[in-house]
């Protein structure tokens, strides 16, 4: 066998390929041994993340796939525990000044990088400065402005040098962050990827290649990257250097494949090749029939209709917007259109999981109204027609993507709105990027939009619709709304902020009906029997496998 392959190799590249393929094809016994039973015994998890992480640089990652890996490889000053509470991470202690504007973090003496070096305050200073550096141009730099770190906004605008950032290492173990205003959720921000420490020496040594391969990623988290085959597989193993290594039960987490195709991933799961993978509604029934463990969770996203309120546009009229809000039955929409278990109706902009002062925000700031009220909507439209002396509502269009799901959603809306508004409703179905460009340029009447949270506070949703926000595609302009948001930005009291947000949300959704919230998105996924401690998050690493383990008792099947 070896002589044969050696013969093949001595020829041209073409024959090598053929020889390689034919030879190895006939000996499948060489396949690597790793069944689900082996993984149970070794405390290893195989999962499908669907894609290659676009950025393993903590200061640059903006997507959920990158976050999953980064959240296991690195750890911020703060972190989350197995219940999702914010607790000290790489910092053992944090002191907040009376003004709420100065945070002093003490770095753990036993916090180490994966190569054994100590984690110091300088590593955080370097990372924070890098995040706002206009030359580095991180897409996530705005999070430093959200955190209100002193001078962050001016540095991004190139009005001040990077060294003026209000985040400084006093010595190796003391890191001080100064804020422009108190920020109620500052500690929770310090647990997120953009604020992870970064090693200056590694960045300088590797330059543009930083964080593009196993040997130029050095983390400080519970897991260490050991293999990365581009677009193919990744593997991380428990890091013995981690200060809290004794709390980590898993030995390894691996993405043995990067399958975009849900059907293929489903097949790998049911044959024992994966322990966690996403599930779509088409395969839900099969999964249930085969008695696979199906779980659901809120993925964090809220979807809503945005109406173009620019002057001269049809939906600049408030009555028509209100009609839209009450006409849609959110329940029916979920049952008939999305059909994903875990989807929930959205009456407000802020999703149910968002924390408030002591309970969740939604428990403290309830918001509901009657929907599916076609008669009520028609009454408002009649009033609009009388006021504008028209006999019929002018025709309008819905801007939508060209995916199968987007088509199904917009067709449902089209039929509903045709009935309610008694006029022609068109669908402008375009490719993804064209839709983004059109909504940005205001070339639409109604567009279906959505938002996923950047951090765990209602502000991540509420500031979207201030007058100057680029994501305010419909150009909703309200001085009262803007004022409430600014007040909330400057307040360090959570209970006061909940009140401000409640008022702002009522104004935005109910009074002005500037947007029409529809659903809080849910997702279904498959989880292998016996795997416990898997946490699904709306912000940060998702899934969070730091506290997961195989339950030895139920190691059957």
């Amino acid at each position: 066998m070896f002589t044969r392959s050696a013969l093949g190799l001595s020829r041209s590249a073409l024959t090598t390929l053929v020889a390689y393929a034919t030879l190895t094809l006939s000996f499948p016994a060489f396949a690597q041994q790793n069944t689900q039973a082996d993984r149970r015994n070794n405390q290893e998890i195989f999962l499908n993340m669907g894609d290659e992480p676009p950025s393993m640089d903590p200061n640059k990652g903006v997507d959920t796939v990158s976050y999953f890996w980064l959240g296991h490889l690195f750890e911020g000053l703060m972190t989350t525990d197995k219940n999702g509470n914010i607790v000290p991470g790489t910092a053992s202690h944090v002191a907040v000044s009376d003004s709420g504007r100065t945070y002093t973090f003490t770095i753990r003496p036993n916090a180490k990088w994966h190569d054994g070096k100590k984690v110091t305050a300088k590593d955080f200073e370097y990372a924070f400065r890098r995040l706002v550096d206009p030359v580095f141009a991180s897409e996530y730099s705005f999070i430093a402005v959200t955190a209100q770190i002193q001078n962050a906004a001016e540095i991004i605008k190139k009005k001040k040098p990077v060294s003026e950032l209000g985040a400084k290492a006093v010595n190796d173990s003391t890191f001080v962050v100064k804020l422009e205003n108190p920020v109620a959720f500052f500690k929770s921000l310090m647990a997120f990827q953009a604020f992870f420490p970064v090693r200056k020496d590694v960045v300088e040594k590797t330059g543009d290649k930083f964080a593009t391969a196993v040997d130029n990623i050095v983390g400080n988290g519970p897991f260490k990257l050991v293999s990365w085959k581009k677009e193919s597989s990744m593997r991380m193993e428990k890091a013995s250097t981690y200060w809290n290594a004794s709390s980590i039960k898993l030995r390894a987490i691996e993405a043995p494949v990067m399958l975009k195709d849900v059907g293929a991933a489903f097949n790998n799961f049911r044959t024992g090749g994966l322990d966690i993978t996403g599930l779509d509604k088409e395969r839900l029934e099969t999964a249930q029939r085969e008695r696979l463990q199906v779980k659901t969770f809120a993925d964090g996203g809220v979807f809503f209709l945005e109406m173009n309120q620019r002057e001269g546009k049809l939906f600049a009229n408030i009555k028509l917007r209100q009609a839209l809000r009450i006409a849609i039955s959110r329940r029916e929409y979920i049952n008939k259109v999305t059909g994903v278990p875990g989807d929930k109706p959205a009456f407000g902009l802020v999703p149910d999981y968002m924390p408030g002062a002591s309970k969740t925000y939604r428990q403290e700031a309830a918001l509901s109204y009657r929907d599916g009220d076609v008669a009520g909507a028609k009454k408002l439209i009649k009033e609009y027609l009388a006021e504008t002396k028209q006999s019929k509502v002018p025709s309008f269009s819905i801007l939508a993507g060209d995916s199968n799901n987007a088509k199904k959603e917009s067709e449902y809306m089209q039929a509903l709105l045709k009935n309610v508004f008694e006029t022609e409703v068109k669908i402008d179905s375009v490719p993804f990027k064209t839709r983004l460009q059109k909504q940005r340029d205001g070339q639409f009447d109604i567009v279906s939009g959505g938002w996923g949270p950047d951090y765990l506070d209602a502000m991540t949703f509420m500031d979207l619709f201030t007058t100057t926000n680029d994501n305010n595609h419909g150009h909703y302009v309200s001085k009262a709304f803007d004022d409430l948001i600014v007040k909330a930005q400057r307040s360090g009291s959570m209970s006061e902020r909940v009140k401000l947000f409640q008022e702002a949300e009522r104004l935005l959704v109910v009074t002005d009906s500037a947007i029409v919230p529809i659903i809080q998105r849910g997702r279904a996924y498959l989880l292998a029997e016996g795997l416990q401690g898997v946490r699904r998050n709306q912000v940060g690493q998702d899934p969070d496998l730091r506290f997961a383990s195989w339950n030895g008792a139920s190691a059957k099947k």
Partner: protein, 317 residues
């Protein structure tokens, strides 16, 4: 000498073709709404400015055009991906092309060998059972989309044996994955089906056509043995047009199939191409387009030369 002059002229023509391809791609990409920085979440204006500066997108269009042309055609550097931080397009091609190419090569090999065998047997054995089977395969191979075949194979060859028949998952085929020899099996067969279909049909009709020609009749009349007649006269003449389609077919198959790569988790170029288009990743789109263009041009050149070798009546130049 004539051959050399022919090759030189074709190579010069290739450069012109590539430059045209480059220019068209450059401007068409920018004519499509959205750019690499268009995201679901709008990037704040200041950050956007900083990013444009970093990537050179703030320069006037003609400057970007000339700079990129210089980088690609003089330095052979396709640049870096906008989407995947630090990922060089040259690395994408170097690492992911061999994957697509090996899958493509294996499927063309399977496809051509099976197709030629089936085509010959079907022609000699018209309306026989093999002929009927071959014709069924032809219709299916051409009309059924490959993702459906991928799905059927995944179920029949992996899911069913593993879950119902309890085959050993260590050695049996897995539904999707990459990195082991067994992972070649299903994607290659899926890709090969289309090739088998077109080759079988073409060869069968060629064989029949040649069978009616004057020189076959003459050979028969001369009393040439059946084996000699079929192998040396009929097949040799019938196979000629097949040769002319094999190379373009090979190039096409080696450049990667999005559906096969997505469905079986193969880290090939088809997948990279699709991702780049979805993200308006200018450098990757351009790099892969120019690469495929060059690959196709060279393959066509080789086909032309080979054709002349097989059929002495055709002389290049």
């Amino acid at each position: 000498m004539r051959l050399l002059r022919f090759i030189l002229r074709r190579l010069m023509l290739a450069v012109v073709t590539l430059l045209t391809l480059f220019t068209l791609t450059f401007f068409l990409m920018r004519a499509v709404p959205g750019d690499p920085l268009t995201r679901t979440k709008e990037i704040p204006e200041e950050t956007r400015k900083n990013l444009e500066e970093r990537y050179g997108l703030d320069k006037p269009l003609h400057k970007q055009y000339l700079l990129q042309m210089e980088r690609i055609f003089i330095h052979g550097d396709f640049g870096t991906s906008f989407r995947t931080v630090g990922r060089e397009v040259n690395d994408i091609i170097r690492e992911q092309f061999p994957v697509s190419a090996s899958v493509g090569l294996v499927s063309v090999l399977i496809g051509v060998l099976t197709g030629v065998a089936l085509g010959i047997v079907a022609a000699l054995n018209r309306n026989g059972i093999i002929d009927r089977f071959a014709m069924f395969l032809c219709v299916a191979g051409i009309s059924v989309p490959s993702f459906l075949f991928a799905f059927i194979f995944q179920y029949c060859l992996a899911v069913y044996p593993l879950t119902v028949l309890k085959f050993n998952p260590d050695t049996w085929l897995r539904p999707a994955g990459w990195g082991e020899a067994r992972d070649f099996v299903m994607p290659s067969i899926t890709l090969a089906l289309g090739i088998i279909a077109s080759i079988t049909r073409m060869l069968k009709s060629q064989m029949i056509e040649v069978g009616f020609s004057e020189y076959i009749k003459t050979a028969k009349a001369k009393g040439v043995s059946l084996v000699r007649l079929v192998v040396l006269h009929q097949i040799r003449n019938a196979i000629l047009p097949i040769v002319s389609i094999i190379f373009p077919m090979l190039v096409f198959t080696m450049s990667g199939s999005l559906i096969i790569e997505a469905g079986f988790g193969i880290p090939g170029l088809g997948r990279a191409y699709m991702t780049s288009i979805q993200n308006s990743d200018y450098n990757v789109i351009m790099g892969l387009t120019v690469f495929f263009g060059g690959f196709l041009i060279i393959a066509n050149l080789i086909t032309d030369i080979l054709y002349g070798v097989i059929d002495p009546r055709i002389r290049v130049g």
